[in-house]
């Protein structure tokens, strides 16, 4: 059967690419530490030897808008273009091409539809920084075929936190039954407390340290019930107006059922705290 070999969770902060594009001699201590953590996740993923990657992120009003806003949508193409004009303009993000795994996308789509998760799908999906930035950090070669899954955490109403977890669980059950022996890595991007476009944006301090500490705790302890209870729309808005992208990591928790969380950190720096997570299968014989 196909199986998930490693799951990593990381920020898709588009400014991070700009930071690491500067000469190394000009990197701040924060930049050095972000790169170290990105490398740690990259190595975990590399050691797991995935053949293909499921990329979970959220479109930021690039392809999807309120004329047609899918809660969860999957891209099924044999290659994807990444990066939009305004991301080049504001963040100097590179335009890129990434191969796609159509076979896996189709298997996931058919399997989830049968199990009560009605993914939308797209045969013409262009991915934004929620996929491109994580790839730059954890698979900069951009050589593995991907199945992008985009969630709606930007245009209310968004699905409740519990739904993200359920979708992750259903995805996992579908993957576990796919014939063959495909090794699948998963890269999930999101953020901790964060504000963009609101009055606290770009504050040189964590947006909501209490939320960040609790959120990292839910992940490291695998405490999904508390996470679901606490991640109401209003609680997340109160922690910063785009904090909602944290719930992508609850989808990861659903995918990681039975795995060990082997890394969980909210990296505190000047500005918003940055998430770094990893879940790995329990090795045989381990407790």
């Amino acid at each position: 059967m196909a199986h998930i070999v490693c799951i990593v969770g990381i920020s898709h902060n588009p400014f991070h690419h700009h930071l690491i594009s500067q000469p190394r001699s000009e990197w701040s201590p924060d930049t050095v530490r972000i790169v170290e953590r990105g490398n740690l996740l990259r190595e975990k993923l590399q050691r797991a030897e995935p053949e293909t990657l499921i990329m979970v992120g959220n479109d930021h009003f690039h392809q999807f808008f309120m004329d047609n806003m899918p809660a969860f949508i999957l891209g099924k193409m044999d290659s994807f273009d990444g990066t939009y004009y305004n991301e080049v303009r504001e963040f100097s993000l590179p335009r890129c091409h990434v191969p796609g795994d159509v076979e896996l996308a189709q298997q996931i789509l058919e399997g989830t539809l049968k199990r009560g998760v009605d993914f939308s799908y797209s045969n013409e999906l262009k991915v934004d920084h929620s996929v491109v930035v994580p790839l730059i950090f954890v698979r900069p070669e951009m050589d593995l075929p991907i199945v992008p899954i985009m969630t709606n955490c930007v245009a209310p109403p968004i699905p409740p936190a519990e739904r993200f977890y359920q979708v992750g669980r259903v995805l996992r059950s579908v993957i576990d039954e796919i014939p063959g022996n495909k090794r699948i890595g998963v890269v999930v991007s999101g953020n901790l407390s964060l504000e963009v476009g609101g009055p606290l944006q770009f504050d040189p301090r964590p947006m909501n340290e209490e939320f960040d500490n609790q959120a990292v705790g839910w992940i490291s302890r695998g405490d999904i019930q508390t996470a679901i209870r606490e991640c109401t729309y209003d609680r997340m808005t109160g922690a910063g107006n785009v904090t909602h992208a944290f719930v992508n990591f609850l989808l990861a928790m659903g995918l990681a059922e039975g795995f060990r969380c082997t890394y969980a950190e909210g990296f505190k720096r000047k500005g918003s705290t940055q998430p770094f997570f990893a879940w790995e299968p329990k090795t045989e014989g381990a407790a």
């Binding site: 930021h60 009003f61 690039h62 808008f65 309120m66 004329d67 939009y84 004009y85 305004n86 303009r89 504001e90 930007v154 245009a155 209310p156 109403p157 963009v196 476009g197 609101g198 009055p199 606290l200 944006q201 770009f202 808005t237 107006n241 785009v242």
Partner: protein
Amino acid sequence: MSRYLVDKFLYRVDRDESALKAYMENPVAFVANWEEEEGPWLNKAERTSGHRFTEEERRALAERDFEKLYAMGAHPFILWTLMLPVYEKEFPNFRALVDHYNNKIRPHGRPDFST
């Protein structure tokens, strides 16, 4: 009120280099033209009739009055991402623009921006 149409304007202009340039050069004319030539179009062939700007919305967009747009419930993410290129050359640096922007919108708290 058409919060949706305001968001559609912000979204379309920010993501199109030529539209952004035209809006920055002549916002009054651009908004008037957009309202006829792009706003009510679902795609190149199909027109819809469900949304029109109010006078207040039309004026706020033409005046690039982000404070008013924020208070009216424009989506804060797409409002910021458009106002950033519109205003950045008027400030000595990014931080100065952010401080100005945040101070202007702060009194309005967190308006409902659902559509």
